[in-house]
């Protein structure tokens, strides 16, 4: 009996010791992993800070202005481009785009759309220069500003591009 209990205690002690060490090393490796993660996080934070500063440097107004001059040639918004408020912009169905004008009139437009009363021929050629005036239902633009035919060239500014897109619809 004595021998049996000695064996039991021996086994128990070794098992406990083993478990203790196993847990200890487990914790240690987890701590190491945590440390690695913390270090990586801090390193990332520093990298993000550096990237943010670099982004700020690359997008400073001076650079953007230079880039714009070289690639986009956008200008400040002129007062005349801001003449209408959102409310003044007609809803889509009431805004006969140049190319759609004859079709829309067939589809039966509300009579208040004044631009429909203008003969199609005066607005028919796409007007790349003045899309906003075509959109204005109340007072159709004078024919002479619209008379320019759509030239098949690359748009030089965003205005022209928008006008071309509007005309091609």
């Amino acid at each position: 009996m004595i021998k049996l209990s000695s064996v039991f205690w021996l086994v128990l002690v070794s098992l406990t010791g083993f478990a203790m060490f196993a847990v200890k090393y487990g914790v240690q490796s987890l701590e190491d992993e945590l440390n690695r993660a913390k270090r990586a996080t801090i390193a990332e934070e520093h990298a993000i800070r550096a990237d943010e500063a670099e982004w700020a440097y690359l997008t400073r107004p001076e650079t953007l202005d230079e880039m714009n001059r070289r690639h986009l040639s956008l200008g400040p918004i002129a007062t005349k481009q801001l003449r209408t408020s959102v409310i003044d912009i007609p809803l889509r169905f009431a805004a006969p785009l140049v190319a759609d004008a004859p079709v829309v009139s067939v589809a039966g437009q509300p009579p208040e759309s004044a631009s429909l009363t203008v003969p199609v021929s005066t607005i028919a050629p796409a007007s790349p220069e003045k899309p906003a005036e075509v959109m204005e239902p109340a007072k159709p633009a004078p024919a002479k500003t619209l008379a320019k035919p759509a030239a098949s060239r690359r748009p030089r500014s965003l205005d022209e591009l928008i006008a071309l897109v509007a005309a091609s619809r």
């Binding site: 203790m20 060490f21 200890k24 701590e31 440390n35 913390k38 270090r39 801090i42 390193a43 520093h46 800070r49 550096a50 943010e52 500063a53 670099e54 982004w55 700020a56 440097y57 997008t59 400073r60 107004p61 001076e62 202005d65 400040p76 918004i77 002129a78 007062t79 801001l82 003449r83 408020s85």
Partner: protein, 591 residues
């Protein structure tokens, strides 16, 4: 225990089959017994000692394993390589979150020459990746025999990487920080700059050093980088066009006191403030560091007339219909007060402001009296040093004894020097309904209007708006008009003081513009120092020809960014809001 063992043992001829009786300890008597006892004691003591040592070891093992062995050293050893600490100074950002100042890691490279195996090779390699280093200098450092020499402070990440790639033993990095200003000179006078240990030397960096230190989230300024750029660019353009010495400008929200842009030219790059400006190498450092808006005090000239008119209207010493004789110059003491482009007739109050009549303004101020004038300027905060978040502020100069001649000259902005910042703050109060609010460089919550102090009545403020509109509509500020944005303002062209006299042909031209003047939101102040006439300006260097057109361009560019919608200036509502009753039906003479 009494069996005598020696009886068998001492017999060498004992037969093999002889089996001794069961072994029992035979305790001999005498000296043998003593020897055995001694043995046993020693054995016990030794065993006990061993047991003790093992017990100590076991306890230590249990302590380390179970309790955690948490001595400080062991923890430090494990955590030592945890990365660099959080930055010591918070970032500075503009009102939209664009970074204006950031703290970046900037490792510094040092060497332990005692550990360098081959100094010549190390020198060659180092110079190959850091070309700005001098080979002779590095070689001298590496063969110095010291145990610590700086090779280079503040490396970029790429440089650090390439030095690491060299794999030279004995080279180490020290963690250091560096303030970086991505926008360079654009916000130099507002943000300021720091020294090598990140101590603030100017601007917000100095004024709010304590706030920035140890703060984690970025500090948000009221500046808008886009407006700042536009202001900076337009000012530079005016300075170049009129070959001026310098210029300054600010854009302010008149209802909250927030400064949306503030530029003083010439300026400096806070990343390396002491380097000469590559574009203008001749401009001395002192000039570039000088903030004309907050530190500089100037006799601003005719733009001060808005205060004279507001004072007279608010105290009731004049009304809009009052008239003053401006047909002859005033002679007082050794001074002669005359008009620049005089009408030589009796002028009404609106006309005095419109045509910028010095004589009229002087007479108006004399009618109100010195006491009222001084009290009024003090109320507007023009007689004390302005308060703002940056530490470069200038104290105003004004006469200790307020005599009649001072009353007259102060009426048109001579004989009193104030900072343009104080001027803008006070001018904002004249148009915003009469509430003076302290200017700030920190962003306020949207729509928040800080408590201010009423300085003039709402009615006077309304009259001032109408009169300032007249200046742009018909008067000296006509070129400041930005159609659709209903600009109102006042021009000012002052002779500069040089020594004890006013200098000939040395002007300080300024313009204060407010838009939309029927519902004032923003104030634009522009100022140009010693402009020279050019061909386009027909020989003029006055405010109406220099800064007024610049203000018009600035307003046209910034208004869409600020969400100010253009209106039809001839529409009945706008006309009614800005109508000056006394001028109705009269023909307004052009300036």
């Amino acid at each position: 225990m009494t069996i005598a063992t020696e009886k068998f043992d001492d017999n060498p001829c004992r037969p093999r089959h002889f089996k001794p009786p069961p072994c029992v300890a035979v305790i001999p008597d005498g000296p043998a017994k003593q020897a055995i006892e001694a043995c046993r004691t020693r054995l016990l003591v030794t065993g006990g000692l061993f047991a003790l040592v093992f017990a100590v070891v076991a306890l230590r093992v249990v302590e380390i394993v179970a309790v955690g062995g948490g001595t400080a050293e062991s923890q430090i050893a494990r955590f030592r390589i945890v990365a660099t600490p959080a930055p010591s100074h918070a970032d500075i950002v503009d009102r939209n979150g664009n970074v204006l100042a950031a703290t970046l890691d900037s490792p510094s490279l040092y060497a332990n020459p005692k550990q360098i195996l081959d100094a010549a090779e190390a020198t060659n390699k180092l110079v190959s990746v850091l070309p700005t280093l001098g080979a002779a200098e590095v070689s001298a450092k590496l063969t110095s025999g010291k145990s610590f020499v700086w090779i280079r402070r503040h490396l970029t990440p790429v440089e650090q990487y390439s030095v690491n790639q060299l794999g030279i033993p004995g080279l180490e990095f020290e963690h250091e920080e560096r303030r970086v200003y991505p926008d360079g000179d654009l916000t130099s006078h507002v943000v300021g700059y720091t020294g090598i240990d990140n101590a603030g030397f100017a601007g917000i960096e100095r004024g709010l050093d304590g706030v920035l230190r140890g703060r984690r989230e970025p500090l948000q300024l009221s500046l808008d980088l886009r407006l700042q750029y536009i202001l900076h660019e337009e000012l530079q353009r005016v300075i170049d066009d009129f070959t001026a010495k310098g210029g300054a400008g600010l854009i302010m929200d008149v209802n909250s006191g927030e400064i949306l842009a503030m530029a003083s030219l010439p300026d400096f790059d806070p990343n390396h403030p002491i380097f000469p400006d590559p574009e203008h190498p001749a401009v001395p450092l002192v000039d570039r560091m000088f903030n004309r808006l907050t530190l500089g005090v100037y006799e601003l000239g005719s733009i001060f007339k808005i205060f004279t008119v507001a004072m007279a209207l608010d105290y009731g010493t004049s009304t809009v219909t009052s008239t003053y004789d401006a047909s002859h110059p005033i002679r007082i003491g050794r001074f002669t007060i005359s008009d620049y482009h005089g009408k030589h007739r009796v002028l009404s109050v609106p006309e005095i402001l419109m045509y910028s009549s010095n004589i009229g303004a002087a007479r108006m101020a004399v009618a109100a009296g010195a006491q009222r004038q001084k009290e009024f300027l003090a109320r507007l905060g023009l007689l004390k040093t302005p308060k703002i978040e940056i530490s470069e502020v200038g104290a105003p100069h004004y006469p200790a004894k307020w005599r009649e001649v001072n009353v007259m000259t102060i009426a048109f902005g001579h004989g009193i020097s104030v900072t343009p910042l104080s001027f803008a703050t006070a001018a904002g109060a004249l148009v915003n309904g009469g509430i003076l609010r302290q200017a700030t460089l920190l962003k306020l919550p949207a729509g928040f209007e800080p408590a201010g102090q009423r300085v003039i009545s709402a009615k006077t403020s309304e009259q001032m708006r109408k009169l300032m509109r007249l200046v742009v509509e018909h008067g000296t500020g006509a070129m400041a008009a930005a159609p659709g944005y209903v600009v109102g303002g006042k021009t000012g062209t002052a002779d500069k003081v040089s020594g004890r006299h006013y200098a000939e042909r040395k002007l300080l031209s300024s313009f204060v513009g407010v838009f939309p003047i029927n519902d004032p939101k923003y104030l634009v102040l522009t100022m140009i120092d010693e402009p020279h006439p050019n061909k386009q300006s027909h020989g003029y260097a006055t405010a109406g020809w220099t800064v007024a057109p610049a203000t018009s361009r600035i307003i046209e560019r910034i208004a869409p960014l600020l969400g100010v919608w253009p209106v039809d200036e001839s529409s009945p509502e706008v006309q009614r809001a800005l109508m000056v009753e006394s001028l109705q039906g009269k023909r307004i003479e052009a300036y």
